[in-house]
């Protein structure tokens, strides 16, 4: 890991791009495609490594096909844009040109969930995970803090593969200490212990889950927090071990329930014969046009700490 990438008060995208930039300086085969999404860190990349930075135009489909051609030419390729655009707008290109040809391209979705709050459904990514999960042979990582971002970036150029990296637009407080190997190794990590129940979450929802834990504690419930960093593939044996102490399981995500993180967990539990009561908490099954900030929209959708705690408390009764 590069020691130059700034920590900790750094936006996820800047942390990621800085890490890739430092690697790209040493490796001319690292190519970074942006689909008209900037970043502070990208300004430096653009100036210092113009040959390795490609602006694809606001053309997601073109970006993915070009990414495939570059990867076939031996390049280590990144395709970067806002999460709703870099996934759904070019979904079939990812399927045909990248996944079907087994090409190692890293797709970076910036601003998952309601990150671009108040911008409305065009900018929300509350179905990106379900869509991307459905693709064959893709690995999906959701960063929940700067350490997960940095290690993910490092992984993408040291072991290139088809990956979808989900970044929040907002700064996320630290969860893991520097050099923590657990999330990369296991994919699913207990970050706060509890007694009878646990909440599994990822990305910003992991931080919401921490608040939920506090609210539930006031009501006499002691729940553990589990960070689901790698949602595809899920190691059934690890899941069994991590969930073993808990008799009830809650999942929390800023994403629709259909095919989302909770769905992935439940599928993996079924496959691993982990038969426990589960309550999935996710975005109410509709789009929201209302404005009022991320917390307000999360509240409407039922995934803010207060709403989630209420749903969880019902389940834990």
């Amino acid at each position: 890991m590069s020691d130059k990438a700034e920590k900790p008060k750094i936006l996820p995208r800047d942390a990621f791009i800085d890490e890739v930039f430092l690697a790209a300086k040493k490796n001319p085969n690292i190519y970074f495609i942006t689909i008209d999404l900037g970043a502070k860190a990208l300004d430096r990349f653009r100036v210092e490594l113009p040959n390795q930075l490609i602006h694809a135009g606001i053309s997601e489909q073109n970006a993915m096909d070009v990414a495939a051609g570059l990867a076939q030419s031996g390049k280590i390729v990144y395709a970067y844009a806002m999460a709703p655009f870099v996934t759904l707008r070019c979904y079939e290109q990812i399927k045909v040109a990248i996944a079907s040809m087994f090409l190692p391209v890293t797709i970076i979705g910036n601003g998952v969930g309601y990150s671009y709050n108040d911008a409305g459904p065009t900018h929300y990514a509350t179905e990106d995970l379900s869509c991307m999960r459905a693709l064959g042979g893709i690995e999906i990582l959701t960063a929940s803090d700067t350490e997960t971002v940095l290690q993910t970036a490092h992984l993408t150029y040291t072991k290139p593969a088809l990956r979808y990296v989900r970044l929040d637009r907002a700064f996320l407080p630290d969860i893991y200490p520097s050099g923590d190997k657990r999330f990369m190794q296991d994919g699913i990590v207990e970050i706060e212990s509890g007694k009878d129940a646990c909440i599994i979450a990822s990305g910003i929802a992991t931080h919401i889950a921490k608040d939920v834990k506090k609210i539930l504690a006031e009501q006499g419930h002691n729940v553990a927090i589990i960070d689901a960093f790698r949602i595809k593939p899920i190691d059934g044996a690890v899941l069994k071990r991590v969930l073993n102490p808990y008799s009830k399981i809650i999942t929390l995500e800023e994403h629709f329930l259909s095919g989302g993180m909770g769905g992935a967990i439940v599928e993996a539990m079924a496959d691993a014969q982990i038969l426990k009561p589960v309550k999935r908490i996710g975005v109410r099954d509709q789009y929201f046009l209302e404005n009022g900030g991320r917390g307000y929209i999360q509240g409407l959708a039922g995934v803010d700490a207060k709403s989630a705690a209420k749903t969880a408390a019902e389940f834990l009764k």
């Binding site: 190519y31 040959n51 490609i54 694809a56 135009g57 053309s59 489909q61 073109n62 993915m64 096909d65 070009v66 990414a67 495939a68 051609g69 570059l70 990867a71 076939q72 030419s73 031996g74 390049k75 079939e92 290109q93 045909v96 040109a97 079907s100 040809m101």
Partner: protein, 274 residues
């Protein structure tokens, strides 16, 4: 090869393509047939660098049949030139064969999966951009169907290729006027075709794509090294060329001929070859 030999090769390729379809009851003769002159000229006319013994030779030029349903048009050539052992053609679409219904890069000589329209141009642009930035002399030829011009991704990549002055990038538009349900101009107009490519910044050459003379002349111009950016060859062709009852008939896109029709087609294709 000289023009007479190339013409013979075209007649041979049409017969081979037709027999592949008859044998396997799979494949698209009409779409394959319309671009026969183009692929024959590329492989046998000396316009494209390839290495049959090492199909993934990094120094090779790339060819993409982006209209993937016509990808089979390359298979007889790939067998003929030794990319695969003799006999592979007989195993088209068989589980133990190398040649699959639609092309994919596990097949020697094939660069990409195609079949869904609008991908070949972008993938090829990636190859061309990488080659230029690496200082390598590699060219990509992309054959797209005119129906592919309905795909937005075609024009996304057209802008991209022109912006990057990809002078190692040749797009051939197989303008056979037909899509599955009807003629293009009756469905959603595509004309004026050449003007569109010109407007997008391509050096545009319009030809009769079923004339080997015009095809070789156009390819000579496209590969002359004198053109500063990407090239578009609008090749006006006849879908189903060589089989009279299929020519310019959209409904023959993937229909299988009956015994009588097979006999008629063979007679016509052999007459041209003779």
């Amino acid at each position: 090869m000289n023009l007479t030999e190339l013409k013979k090769k075209c007649a041979w390729l049409r017969r081979e393509a037709f027999e592949m379809v008859v044998r396997s009851k799979k494949g698209h003769y009409p779409s394959s047939s319309s671009c026969v002159e183009m692929v024959v000229a590329l492989f046998y006319g000396g316009f494209m660098k390839y290495n049959a013994q090492n199909p993934k030779d990094p120094a090779r030029d790339r060819i993409f049949i982006s209209k993937g349903h016509a990808g089979m048009v390359l298979y007889p050539i790939l067998e003929d030139l030794g990319f695969v052992p003799k006999g592979e053609l007989l195993k088209f679409t068989k589980p133990d064969g190398k040649f699959r219904f639609y092309p994919d890069p596990t097949i020697p000589g094939i660069e990409a999966i195609t079949g869904s329209l609008g991908h070949g141009m972008g993938i090829a642009a990636g190859h061309c951009l990488a080659a230029k930035r690496d200082g390598k002399n590699i060219r990509s030829f992309v054959i797209i169907g005119d129906g592919e011009c309905y795909e937005g991704s075609t024009w996304e990549t057209a802008m991209f290729a022109a912006h990057h002055h990809l002078d190692n990038y040749v797009v051939v538009i197989d303008r056979n006027q037909c899509i599955i349900m009807d003629h293009t101009e009756k469905c959603v107009k595509l004309d004026p075709m050449a003007e569109k490519w010109k407007a997008f910044g391509f050096h545009t050459i319009e030809i009769n794509g079923n004339s080997i003379e015009e095809v070789t002349k156009a390819l000579a111009e496209a590969t002359s090294g004198k053109i500063k950016g990407p090239v578009a060859i609008v090749a006006n062709t006849v879908k189903g060329k060589g089989v009279s009852y299929m020519e310019n008939r959209p409904d023959w896109h993937n229909k299988m001929p009956n015994d009588e029709q097979i006999a008629t087609a063979r007679k016509e294709l052999e007459a041209v070859a003779a």
